[in-house]
């Protein structure tokens, strides 16, 4: 609703003040371009979806493994955790060209970029989740003779799930951004490529098509994660009612 209102205001203001299309196209023109240029655009879209999914999967794997490792080996946590934070402080835009120099134009540098963006929220969320495990339940499990492995799989991991999902939601939206940035590095197709071409030829309408599809894609990923969360953490949702 709010979005629709925004579009209407945008449309009227753009028409009334006669802004040229290359500066700010009206929403109708953007949708028109998106619809007409679909055949042209959708291979790019598809390629970005593939890249984000792959990057997200890798980010999830690495994020989770890092969290588990740091959780089970507290003495490593002290030394590695600062490094993780540093990894988030390096501007990706600066790092990206370097990655190309080091690893070429293939899939690897792109995966590194997306993973770098994705894994951190997952690691932090999972670590927090593990740490928050109720002492009461832990005490019971230990008294009842649970091994460390059982303690982790039967208590700590399920306990961390809700927290982990908050991280996943953030990462899922980041993964699309990460994919687009990684496509700027040099790729044959992808929304990132489409966007660069469009902006350098002043096809502002196409830039907006790219922006809207990135937003839509992020939202889609986000809702998929929410659906999975609802299914996996259903015991909690029942409690909220």
């Amino acid at each position: 609703m709010v979005l629709l209102l925004l579009f209407i205001v945008w449309e009227t203001v753009a028409i009334k003040s006669r802004v040229p299309d290359w500066l700010l196209p009206t929403p109708t023109k953007i949708f028109y371009e998106g619809f007409n240029g679909w055949a042209n655009f959708y291979p790019d879209l598809l390629s970005t979806i593939k890249l984000s999914l792959l990057g997200f999967a890798l980010g999830l794997l690495i994020g989770l493994l890092t969290a588990i490792l740091l959780h089970l080996l507290p003495f490593i946590r002290e030394s590695i955790y600062p490094l993780l934070i540093i990894s988030q402080n390096i501007p990706i835009i600066v790092l990206a060209p370097l990655l190309v120099i080091w690893f070429g134009f293939g899939l690897l540098p792109k995966m590194i970029v997306i993973t770098l963006v994705c894994f951190f929220p997952i690691t932090v969320a999972a670590l927090d989740g593990f740490k928050q495990t109720s002492n009461e339940l832990k005490h019971y499990m230990i008294m009842a003779g649970a091994s460390n492995k059982q303690l982790f799989w039967k208590l700590e991991l399920p306990y961390a799930l809700p927290s982990l999902f908050s991280g996943l939601k953030i990462s899922a939206t980041y993964s699309v951004m990460g994919a687009v940035i990684s496509e700027w590095l040099g790729a044959k197709d992808g929304i990132g490529v489409y966007m660069t071409l469009a902006s350098s030829s002043f096809r502002t309408d196409r830039v907006f098509v790219a922006i809207f599809s990135i937003v839509a894609l992020s939202l889609l990923f986000f809702s998929i994660i929410v659906l999975i969360e609802r299914w996996l953490v259903r015991w909690q949702l029942k409690g909220a009612k």
Partner: protein, 248 residues
Amino acid sequence: MKVSHLTVSNISKKFDKNEVIKNLAFTIDKNEFVSIIGPSGSGKSTIFSLIGGILSPDQGTIHLDHQVINGKRGFISYMPQTPSLLPWRTIVENVLLGQELQGKKEKKAALEMIDIAGLTGYENAYPHELSGGMKQRASFIRALLSPQSIICLDEPFSALDELTRLDMQKWLLSIWEEHRRTILFVTHNIEEALFLSDRIIVLSNKPSQVAAEFQVPFSRPREESLFLEDEFLEWKRKIYYSLKKTGE
């Protein structure tokens, strides 16, 4: 000589300079119901941690039958003060947890026990859908279904309101009289200990030692009316004074 089921011989435990337990010794026979009563801060939970193997005694040994279980986990089944059911597991899954940790699961036995416990219809409910008393029942049958021969109960009813507590005590007795197990019950409630147990061990203040021991003379099965009998009150007084003496 008769060998007791659980034998605690002269154990001592210090935390830094703080002596919590000193030369504590007691035994429990097979299928006996023994309560430990002590002033607060008398190291009751430390005793459980030692028997449960979370802590090791500085001196002395803990035997289960002929085996030394100092610092070894997994030899007791446990019911804590709070229900401690895993919120993402249904009641059946929770009740089976004790068995699961030791290896095999017997779902049929669990369902039967849930039935006996009066939780029929709640097998597939989640813990938050149950009342406090029901959760404690689930927690108790989880301990009862665990394969270990001895159950340690750590003030299991202290968080419940008076009426529910009385119900739970009666319920526990009825189940236990049917399904005898060795029980070590920690409480600070004299009436509860008298009503439930065969024997009561009174602990002294820190460092904990056995201050007194009472064989409870009431026959089983016990009824609620026991609470009001003169003999019961007489015993209550006796234990109260011995407990008070240790506090001084």
